[in-house]
Amino acid sequence: MLELSGLSKHFGGVKAVDELDLTVNEGEIVGLIGPNGSGKSTTINLICGVFGETAGTVRFRGELMNGKPPHQRLRAGLARTFQNIRLFPNLTVWQNLWVAQNSPQDVSARGFLPRWFGATRRTRREIADLLDLADLGHKDDELASNLAFGEQRRLEFARAAATRPRLLLLDEPAAGMNQQEIADLSRRIHRVRDSGVTILLVEHVMELVMGVTEQIAVLNFGRKIAFGTPGEVQRDKAVQEAYLGASDPGDGSA
């Protein structure tokens, strides 16, 4: 579904991402891990078109994505969340989701006026579902900036889901979360996957990564040093060394 081949991004002399090859198949939950500064977020930004790549290609569902701006990639089905939450702070929770409902299906199925000016019954029902997914049903009229940190994360997750993506890129969604919130998040990730969305998860919190992913790619200094199931990756020598020689990468303190 998503194919990166030879993908590179250099910032001056720094090779943030170096010749990365990665394939994500439809319906999978794939993890992308690595120590700080290993190029995970840069990879997400390359896939979404925030940065232009130095070399290599991004293919999504067979279509070449190189050179396309972020909004076109979204319409092809690539949605994302941000490492540092980026909501529309002075819009309400409901409006945040409303704005994001812009999927290609809508363009053909509905007219101009209802799309831009009306909130059809279907729109309201979908947003109600999303509010339920984010567990924010009671806060729909609250400004996004008034939400607690965890709620903002949930809203951003729901906003990405509102675009009805085929592939959802999650950039450190568990950062700063407690055990309970991580458990909720992994339940939420499964719920979205079960509705037919493929997921690429960039994460430091090993508890989440090891728990939900089926395949993991490990980056270090912009290069992929390992790829396999969570078990395989945990036993990998190169991975253990990358995480400062820790005997168990599961401590996640890298």
């Binding site: 972020p70 819009l91 994001a100 675009t163």
Partner: protein, 304 residues
Amino acid sequence: MSYYLGLAQLIGIHTLLGLSAYVLMLTGQLSLGQAGFFAIGAYCAGILTVIFELHIVPALLIAALLAAFFAFLVGFPALRVKGLMLVVATIAFGEFVRLFFFNLSWRVPRDGIHVGPDSTNGFREIRYFVANGWSAWEITLFVWTFVLLVMAALWWTDRSRAGAVLRAVGEDELAAQSVGLSLTTVKVTAMTAGGFIAGVGGALYAHTATYVDHLTFTVLLATFAISYPILGGLSSVFGTLVAVIFIQGVLVEGLRFMGDWRSIVFGLLIVVAMNLKPSGLFDARTARLLRRAVGLRGGEKSRA
């Protein structure tokens, strides 16, 4: 009485000017080119009623569409730059339009005299209202019909998804792109709508003033255009109206008795107002208070 009616017309026209900047400001863009679109509306509507002898309503609509068309054209290159660079680019456009009309001479004979734009001497014969015997009351009503129509349209847009989309772009461009919004499309649309509104304002201005020349449309007018929404705040269209009444009604007219001191007090009061109400004279809190006073509950699914 006619003085107050004239003031009411002026306030209406400047509200349109301010709203044209308001629309674009929702997307986070600041344009100092609104005087240019206002000038296009003024001159074109004047030419249409004077030289082509059209009725005021079609003349006004054609002029506004033309202003919108130019806003659309200018929008593509201008909105590729942001912040100060956009301000500079739009000032350049405004000056270009002003100098074009400064040089435009298009005189035609009509009833024994020559009428039409006369370059440096201005365009002096926009007498549609006088020629058709409109009273000051009728003119004021006419002006405010358009002001209220535009305000209603924008108020409604603000509550719709389109309004949320405009504000989303203004709040965070990267996040807006990441939910599939094309920044160019959204900003150019806002610019075009702003051009249309400024065009309506300009057309009304030309006919109420009966006389326009290039000096009306300097950067000073463009500065007024953006100062209304800045002072009034972006929480709703009423902010712009309140700011226009405050500036034109209270500061410009109300302080006339102060003579030369007026400009100083004018500036001072604006600084005081901005300090007391940093998010605008008509911010969300004022709106809430007003709603409670009138006994209405807040909009259920829309912003307060």
